[in-house]
């Protein structure tokens, strides 16, 4: 048996909700931690170490200096995990790229120049290669646990390429469309065990679009127009009266980062 792998948690710009989800695992976390040695975790530990084998990184890249920091972490860690949507696909942080930085600074600080050193917001996956990706805002606890175990047992983990609908059905949850709510579940990567739809709220795609998601189909299904619909969908579409822009904005809430490739983006780095 080799000695216990050393693990570290790091955070970049985010709400630190993912770390809370991890901490909330309680007994299960303590059991999992038996297999490792936690050497750095700023939110709960004072001591820190620059040597670790497995790094969990939460949050998005925001400062210029974050780039160096994440590269350093990548160099040190044998295994790097992006924790949650901020780290994997940018989350709400990336929405800010829709705006010029001066406008943002003016809006929030009343000074177009302050603070300095801010760059285009991006997930850590856009800067370094990660070995495991986890999604969710906050990270889906079952997925974190799965990945943690996969790492310790040297398994691959491919994020599920199936939509949330599958988990709704396997849990026998009513579809929220029947509650006259808009849901992005049919195009969103599952793995959250239908956390939102189980409580009657539509999925907001916090785990990001799954591969091969039929976005055009979704726009068509949700947009107010005169295609023939079955009664449930008819009610949803007529009450919410969504335009294409509304629908795309909904998808964009967590999925804005890939759009950074757009020509009209202002890069600030």
């Amino acid at each position: 048996m080799r000695s216990k792998p050393r693990i570290a948690f790091f955070d970049f710009a985010c709400c630190e909700g993912c770390q809370l989800v991890v901490l909330r695992l309680g007994e299960e976390l303590f059991e999992l931690l038996e297999h490792v040695e936690v050497v750095s975790w700023r939110e709960v530990m004072t001591t820190a170490s620059d040597e670790y084998d497995i790094a969990f990184c939460e949050g998005s890249i925001r400062w210029q200096k974050d780039i160096e920091r994440i590269k350093k972490i990548r160099e040190t860690a044998g295994t790097l995990v992006s924790l949650g949507t901020c780290a994997s696909i940018g989350c709400h942080n990336a929405i800010r790229n829709d705006w010029p930085l001066d406008t943002l600074r003016q809006t929030v600080y009343g000074d177009p120049e302050f603070p300095q050193g801010i760059i285009t917001a991006r997930p850590i996956t856009a800067v370094v290669e990660v070995d495991y990706q986890t999604f969710g805002c906050p990270v889906s606890a079952p997925e974190f646990v799965k990945v943690f175990k996969a790492i310790l047992t040297e398994q691959e983990y491919s994020p599920p390429n199936r939509p949330v609908c599958v988990e709704c059905k396997l849990n026998d949850y009513p579809c929220v469309y029947e509650k006259n709510q808009v849901c992005l579940g049919p195009v969103t990567r599952c793995g959250c065990n239908a956390a939102c739809t189980g409580y009657g709220d539509g999925c907001r795609s916090c785990r990001g679009l799954m591969d091969g998601a039929n976005l055009e189909g979704a726009v068509r299904a949700l947009m107010a127009n005169d295609i023939k619909r079955h009664p449930i969908m008819e009610r949803v579409v007529s009450t919410h009266g969504l335009s294409e822009a509304d629908i795309l904005q909904m998808f964009g809430a967590y999925n804005t980062w890939p759009k950074v490739e757009r020509k009209d983006y202002q890069y600030e780095d």
Partner: protein
């Protein structure tokens, strides 16, 4: 002596503390995420969900403040059952957040441990208890709002899901056990809080009928009470060159929000067991010891647990609907919403156009409001530490900063 603590550990978010000569500075280095800008142009449907992402620890408070502000803007008055359920969720959040602070963040200092894990190595039961209390708070939130971070079931004018009566009453038993855990918590922390005294202005919400968390008017210990909608005319926010969080002041150069401020302003409304806990801990209003913010948190935890039982009974006996399929009709308008987040008064303000798009947003975060006061306290504390070595001075300064339970990613949002 030059002290630099960077980054501050066992706090939420990135900050650094440095002391050189007789001056201490507490700088927020967390990257701003520009939430006030990024909700602009977005639909009212998304606002509370985006807002809750400001902070993982006080997600419910942000969601509530955003929902209240939006409801205010749209002229919606929520029914009594909705308000009761939201209050319950707020209690859950206060309980979990305080438990996190007490047992995982600040706690280890009182036992000379560097982390909760180290603490657990010597006494696993302490960590287990902390975990149970934290979990109890989360379970309250889960039951009402689907989950704590980030709440799913809270929506404008109601909930997308309402817990069944059985689910609510099932909590009662856990809450009773929670009170037992809290008794042990009181004895554990009693007498361990460092002494210090610096009088300041204490600001919180105040409600005529109950110890305010979810609703109330804005109240200052200077003797002034105003409706929350007035907040921006009363409180001035100011950008500081070395910090991405803004500082705030009202009547004086700085003021304090959070558990101690609430205790000082509203202790007359505490539940009976909370009052007893305060007495046992030797906490009496007004208390001018900022370290006692931690003590006040224990008292508030007792209050939250005890009053939750009360709330559950009220919720079960009110059959006003809280769940609704009816869509909200947006109207052009401005609204302000304030709640007592675990760390103090939180304000959200939004303006909407007629189609329900957000045109302006402002969020005033408790930790930001506390920063000026924290610095003043640190500067008052430093001279009293003369004669100590660097390490113990640093630790004491750090403990004071932690006593404020700063929530830094929130403060720079």
């Amino acid at each position: 002596m030059k002290i630099e603590i960077n980054p501050m550990t066992r706090v939420e978010g990135h900050a650094k503390l440095d002391a050189s000569g007789d001056k201490v500075r507490f700088a927020v280095t967390e990257a701003p995420r520009f939430f006030e800008a990024l909700v602009r142009d977005r639909s009212y449907r998304d606002v509370s969900h985006i807002a809750s992402r400001v902070c993982g620890i006080c997600a419910i408070s942000h969601a509530c403040a955003a929902l209240k502000a939006t409801e205010d803007a749209f002229g919606i008055t929520t029914g009594p059952r909705i308000r009761l359920l939201r209050r319950l969720a707020c209690y859950g959040e206060v309980l979990s957040s305080h438990a996190l602070h007490l047992y995982f963040l600040a706690g280890p200092d009182f036992f000379k441990a560097s982390s909760a894990f180290e603490l657990a190595a010597s006494d696993p039961e302490i960590l287990r208890r902390g975990n149970r209390l934290k979990e109890l708070g989360y379970v309250l939130c889960d039951t009402v709002a689907g989950r704590h971070t980030h709440p799913v079931a809270m929506r404008l004018n109601g909930f997308t899901f309402v817990p069944a009566e059985e689910d609510l009453t099932a909590l009662l038993h856990r809450l009773e056990n929670g009170l037992l855990d809290l008794q042990k918590t009181v004895s554990l922390f009693k007498g361990r809080i460092p002494e210090m005294e610096r009088e300041t202005e204490y600001v919180s919400l105040r409600h005529p009928l109950h110890y305010a968390f979810y609703e109330g008017d804005l109240h200052s210990s200077e003797g002034k009470t105003v409706p929350v909608a007035e907040y921006s005319r009363q409180i001035r926010e100011e950008v500081i060159s070395y910090s991405t969080a803004k500082y705030a002041r009202w009547h004086r150069d700085s003021y304090m929000v959070g558990a101690l401020a609430r205790f000082n302003n509203n202790s007359d409304q505490l539940s009976p067991a909370a009052g007893e806990a305060a007495a046992e801990l030797g906490l009496e209003a007004p208390c001018y010891n900022p370290f006692a913010n931690t003590t006040a948190q224990i008292v508030e935890m007792v209050h939250c647990v005890e009053d939750s039982m009360n709330l559950i009974e009220q919720i079960v006996s009110t059959d006003h609907p809280a769940e609704t399929d009816e869509p909200v009709i947006p109207v052009a308008g401005c609204g302000v919403g304030a709640v007592e987040a675990p760390r103090g008064t939180l304000f959200h303000e939004y303006h909407y156009d007629g189609s329900g798009k957000c045109t302006f947003a402002n969020m005033v975060i408790p930790t930001a409001q506390n920063l000026a006061n924290l610095e003043a306290d640190l500067n008052a504390l430093l001279p009293t530490l003369a004669g100590r070595d660097k390490e113990s001075t640093a630790l004491r300064l750090e403990m004071l900063a932690r006593a404020y339970d700063p929530c830094i990613s929130c403060s720079s949002h």
